[in-house]
């Protein structure tokens, strides 16, 4: 219980501390300190799993562990990156940013450790709201539009998820079992729950969490929010918050497994996932804004995870590994794109040319991140995507596998058409130049993430493998 409490209270006290600190330059350092503390607690909890709390509200299972690990790692990197990055953004106070990040971390940790679906919902909604002021960091007309869309669409989405939870709770009342929203209780009583209510609940939960995750056609807030948010916020949105919503979907998946809703749920996931990938492929092609391009890449990757979940079997392993692979690679891409944005003071691909020449490190990282995210070996996303595709074909679902592969190819070409001109060639002579230079603090964090993505691509450590197997076992369709 002590560790569960520490995981939440530490970031919250960090938020209070950064709120009180009057100096802009000190805040990112304090932020990093608390992020280190959070990582340490996370590591301890992964090595020695704390027992379930009395009443079963808090229980760190294998699924929660994977998401907690990826969130904590990504957050730590982003926190360290902020030391260098916020140095270039001294024109405005970073108090809201630092406080918002830490509140979001606390809520995110809560999502991963709780088995109470109601509490999980509250925590998810908190992450949504705490991120809103961060998207509005740039304080201009475009960022207000992005924030408004994000806030409205995500709030409606999460509200629909709430009514789904209410339906579930009512199903337990109608079934005359102990009323509860604890995942374990719901699964235990699954056989007795009225299928009408559970079916309605699954639909609302899928739409609600799908909106938060950004599955097409509920993704319309994504390009705006990712495009306008500062790079490190974009990294946390696409590598962190997406995974939290995915974890929520995994909980619904566990529930569907127990209640015979699984076939319906899987089919809807496959359709939504493929639609997301196709949408991404179409919109990626002529993207003139490289941050918006990354947003469509995020739509693609939530689609990949949804398809994998829908396929089941071996693909589940791929989906869970993709949580880590996608989260970390998105970190590399968003942080390095933030650097490029700083240096050119533009995110339009018309102005940004020859990044490799001007910023060898950031440009190189962006290029490597692109190679990794499109699923090329030897990086981690290759492993997950390969597992998913091969699972589709071994299950004999040729059409799904084919659409999946074609989308991946089209996306690769579309993304290459944007990324390659950006990093290759000469810097245009009329291009704006700013005071930004690559330094240890702005390049080190994404470089560390890239190394991690590379290592995971060639070698999965035994404990992680064990964790992934344990997690996939929780999602296996009973024969």
């Amino acid at each position: 219980m002590l560790f569960y409490a520490a995981l939440i209270i530490l970031p919250l006290s960090g938020a209070a501390a950064t709120w009180l600190i009057p100096f802009d330059r000190m805040r990112p350092k304090v932020l990093s300190l608390f992020a280190c503390g959070h990582m340490a607690i996370t590591a301890r909890m992964l090595i020695v799993t704390p027992p379930e709390s009395p009443g079963g509200w808090f229980h760190l299972d294998a699924l929660g562990k994977i998401v907690l690990l990826s969130t904590s790692m990504l957050f730590l990197t982003c926190a360290i990156y902020s030391i260098g990055y916020l140095n270039y953004r001294r024109e405005r106070s970073n108090r809201t940013l630092c406080v918002g990040l830490l509140v979001c971390l606390a809520a995110a940790s809560l999502v991963t450790i709780t088995h109470h679906l109601g509490l999980m919902w509250v925590a998810l909604e908190t992450t949504t709201i705490s991120m809103a002021p961060l998207i509005y960091f740039n304080r201009n007309a475009r960022s207000i539009e992005a924030t408004w869309k994000y806030l409205l669409i995500c709030s409606v989405g999460v509200a629909l998820a709430l009514i789904g939870l209410y339906f579930l709770a009512y199903a337990t009342i109608v079934a005359k079992v102990e009323p509860s929203l604890l995942l374990d209780d719901l699964m235990r009583y699954a056989g007795k729950l009225s299928s009408g209510w559970v079916h309605a609940a699954v639909v609302f939960l899928l739409v609600g969490f799908g909106t938060k995750m950004g599955l097409a056609p509920l993704h319309t807030w994504k390009p705006d929010a990712y495009g306008e948010a500062p790079g490190l916020v974009g990294a946390l949105l696409s590598g962190g918050l997406v995974n939290l919503a995915f974890l929520a979907l995994l909980r619904v998946y566990q529930l569907s497994l127990a209640t015979n809703e699984i076939l319906f749920f899987q089919n809807v996931l496959i359709v939504m996932g493929l639609v997301s990938m196709i949408f991404a492929a179409v919109f990626m092609a002529r993207q003139a804004d490289f941050k918006r391009m990354l947003a469509y890449s995020s739509v693609e990757h939530v689609g990949i995870m949804a398809v994998a979940l829908g396929l089941g079997g071996k693909a589940i392993f791929g989906a869970l590994f993709h949580v880590l692979a996608n989260g970390l690679t998105k970190g590399v891409l968003f942080l390095s794109s933030g650097n490029i944005h700083r240096s050119y003071n533009s995110k339009s691909t018309d102005h940004v040319r020859g990044a490799l020449r001007r910023l060898p490190w950031s440009g190189g990282l962006f290029l490597a991140g692109f190679i990794a995210i499109t699923g090329s070996p030897p990086f981690a996303p290759f492993i997950s995507e390969f597992t998913i595709v091969s699972s589709a074909f071994t299950q004999g679902r040729m059409l799904i596998g084919a659409i999946f592969l074609i989308s991946l190819t089209v996306i690769f070409i579309g993304m290459a058409l944007t990324v390659l001109p950006m990093v290759m060639g000469d810097v245009p002579p009329d291009s704006e130049s700013t005071s930004y230079r690559d330094s240890f603090w702005t390049v080190g964090p994404p470089l560390a993430l890239l190394l991690l993505v590379f290592v995971l691509g060639v070698w999965i450590p035994a404990p992680l493998m064990e964790l992934l197997r344990e997690a996939s076992a929780l999602l296996e369709v009973p024969q």
Binding site: I129, S155, V156
Partner: protein
């Protein structure tokens, strides 16, 4: 008491139609405030007396009936706009759609198994109909304030369903839901403020610089 609760629910449904049919923002805000007060009274009608219940009633009436409408009213006054003009979809079509959704939600509710105690109430259809109304207002109106009103109506719909669960759901979830609503409105209020400052109007259809070509 059943019939009284049902009469209040009919009032809630009527207020839905007011929010769909009016163009005056202040009137719409007052209607939603009245809806909030009714939602505050409802738990007292269907659950036996307890101090916990009194506390819930007071909090709900205060938040849904007064605090949030006041915040919205302030936003309307500071932005100096009175009417929702030119919604994406006219008032008559949205009213018709609202009627259709209300009818459908009665059908949907009829097909689901209910507890015998709740069999005669209109909670489920009223809840779904209110939810759909909120959704309609959200998607068809142009002004940011109207969209927030839509969101509030949507949350009210969810709240009505929550009444069926008051005993089953731990208080923490109720409190969390209310708090989220408050914080959400608060944040939205600030955003509205910024929109009016940036664009000198509260028309979200001006927010098109990020549209996909």
């Amino acid at each position: 008491m059943i019939s009284l609760a049902d009469q209040f629910l009919v009032l809630v449904l009527l207020i839905n139609f007011i929010s769909l049919g009016t163009s005056r923002l202040m009137f719409s805000i007052r209607a939603v405030a009245a809806q909030g007060v009714i939602l505050g009274i409802l738990p007292g009608l269907i659950h036996p007396f307890s101090w916990h219940l009194v506390a819930i009633t007071i909090v709900i009436i205060a938040v849904k009936g007064f605090v949030i409408p006041m915040l919205l009213g302030r936003a309307v006054r500071s932005a100096e706009i009175k009417r929702e003009d030119e919604p994406f979809l006219g008032y008559v079509p949205t009213l018709l759609l609202g009627a259709i959704f209300t009818a459908l939600s009665f059908g949907f509710a009829g097909s689901l198994p209910m507890l015998p105690v709740h069999q005669n109430y209109m909670f489920v259809p009223a809840s779904i109909a209110t939810l759909m109304t909120g959704f309609l207002v959200l998607t068809t109106r142009r002004k940011a304030i109207s969209q927030v009103i839509g969101y509030l109506v949507l949350e009210n719909g969810i709240f009505i369903f929550g009444l069926l669960l008051a005993e089953a759901m731990p208080i923490m979830v109720e409190a969390g839901a209310l708090l989220d609503l408050l914080v959400g409105t608060f944040v939205m209020g600030i955003v509205i403020n910024q929109i009016s400052r940036e664009f000198s109007s509260l028309d979200t259809s001006l927010l098109t610089s990020l549209k996909e070509e």
